[in-house]
Amino acid sequence: MFKESDIVLSAKHIVKQFPASGGRTLTACNDVNLNVYKGKTLGIVGESGCGKSTFVRMVISLDKPTSGEILYHGKNLSNLSKKETWLNRQNMQMVFQDPLASFDPKMKIVDILTEPLINYGKLKRSEKEAKARELLKMVELPGDFVDRYPHNMSGGQRQRISIARALSLEPEILVCDEATSALDVSVQESVIQLLVRLQKEKNISMLFICHDLALIRSFAHQIAVMYLGNIVEVIPGEDVAEKSLHPYTQALLGAQFSIHMDQNKKIESIESEAPSPLDVPHGCPFQNRCEHCMEKCKTIRPVLTEVESGHEVACHYVTEK
């Protein structure tokens, strides 16, 4: 299912550190290795503050990694010149978490939708409205929306506009940073359906950040679970419920609410807080919250090891068992 030759984007040993007060450093991403495949969706799940957003900011060249490289078809993104970075932005577009905040409040939908194309000289000003209507149609919105302002629309409509804008340049990779978490549950589903349909039509690779494991496993081909800047498990989306091995992934699954859940069964929440990224422990990042914690976990950091095709886990307990 995942072939080497289909890799569109690959992150190799990405480390991102920020200087913090008192001469400390905040480690947002710690040796992240991920591959994005052509036409497939890679979901990244994790708690708030685990470095998901930092990682995608580096992918779309808004930040540079402290070390490591992000290769897009073999080209290292941090080595590109200003002009090349600008040209490369056409290949990667982003849908933001809060659609309203990602639109200029003084702009109409027609200008918002066509801005990317005009930036790259791919659209004449006279054809603006026609193109905007075409894009609206693509995301199943009425063409009359061209004259509206974003604050006159509902959350789901705004997110559709956001998707239409991101896809106007026909990018190869679409990055969605919690694109559905600001939406109502009923709207979430239709937005996801839209994304999946567009992905199939245009063969786009998606990088989808989410903290809802149940939502993401419904459409992601691959799920990467992130904890405190580390990828702890990479698993095919459909296997997450049955085959996940890492204690953290299982804890996330256990903390999931569901309509079909057993009312008498206790909802398992994870004990204690995640350690501060200012003070990352030696060894396994999950050690203080893990019930299987061993001596080895406190000294040696586990690395991702393949347990099955397309399924990697970073856990001493799992690999030794």
């Binding site: 808004l62 982003m94 990602s102 200029d104 003084k106 801005e115 990317p116 930036n119 790259y120």
Partner: protein, 275 residues
């Protein structure tokens, strides 16, 4: 059109001072038609005459009609003030936007220069600059502009810092928008309202500063009809001919009050919180 009418109806204070502002501007434009005499026409036989039906505001020491001079003074004051506000608005905003958006060394250099300017008492520095350049109207505008742009630069900078953090700027970068276009299309329109409000409220103050400079002899030069200068000329005859100071003084007070109140009510009308 209906929308404009509604704004006027809903904001009585704004409407009142807007009309008064238009009257002041009208006086400046139609000065030649409104004034009974030539403001520069000296009739020595009629010097220092008391206000009468022939000369409602009296005459000055050279026998020039004071009413005509006050009316023409509106022209000088208004043109100078508007030029001054336009200059500091453009320069201050430009420098502030650059400093705020690019940050780093550009920011440091521009803002340290601004700090330097602020650490002097404004009018004293303006007098020093005007003194160096020589007294005339253009130099008065330049010298006050040199000390007043900092306010706009600081305001623009702080606004840009706020706008810069917003997600739509980031989205624009991801969309491949070039920096200059981000500044023009995304940053400026989202801060210009506040800047305009400040500028409108500043017209009165600036008018006063220009008049002060003229009064001190660093602005308008004789025989230009200018209120500050007229006050200075009348100073010597204060006991004998008080109308020489009263009428230009009243003119300054009226103008400053009208434009201050206009600026205030524009702030109410354009209140950015309503956006």
């Amino acid at each position: 059109m209906k929308k404009v009418l509604r704004i006027f109806k809903e904001n009585k204070q704004f409407t009142l001072f807007f009309i008064l502002g238009l009257v002041v501007i009208g006086v400046a434009i139609f000065a030649p038609q409104l004034s009974p005499y030539d403001p520069l026409d000296a009739v020595m036989t009629e010097s220092l005459q008391e206000p009468s039906s022939a000369h409602p505001f009296g005459t000055d020491k050279l026998g020039r009609d004071l009413l005509s001079r006050v009316i023409f003074g509106t022209r000088t004051s208004l043109i100078m003030t508007l030029c001054l506000v336009a200059v500091i608005f453009v320069i201050g905003t430009f420098l502030g936007v650059i400093a705020g958006y690019f940050g780093g060394i550009v920011d440091a250099v521009i803002m340290r220069i601004a700090d330097m300017m602020i650490s002097f008492p404004g009018l004293v520095l303006a007098i020093a600059i005007a003194g160096m350049l020589g007294p005339n109207l253009v130099n008065a505008v330049i010298s006050i502009a040199a000390v007043s742009w900092t306010k706009y630069a600081r305001l623009a900078r702080s606004m840009v810092l706020k706008v810069k953090k917003s997600l739509y700027i980031e989205a624009a970068v991801v969309n491949g928008t070039k920096t200059w276009k981000i500044l023009l299309v995304h940053v400026l329109p989202n801060m210009v309202t506040q800047m305009v409000v400040t500028a409108a409220a500043d017209i009165g103050t600036m008018m006063l500063e220009l008049a002060s400079l003229s009064f001190l002899g660093f602005g308008a030069t004789a025989p230009t009809p200018e209120w500050g200068l007229m006050l200075n000329e009348g100073r010597t005859y204060m006991a004998k001919a008080p109308w020489l100071m009263i009428y230009p003084g009243i003119a300054i007070v009226i103008c400053v009050v009208v434009f201050n109140m206009l600026g205030d009510s524009i702030r109410d009308v354009l209140d950015p919180r309503q956006d």
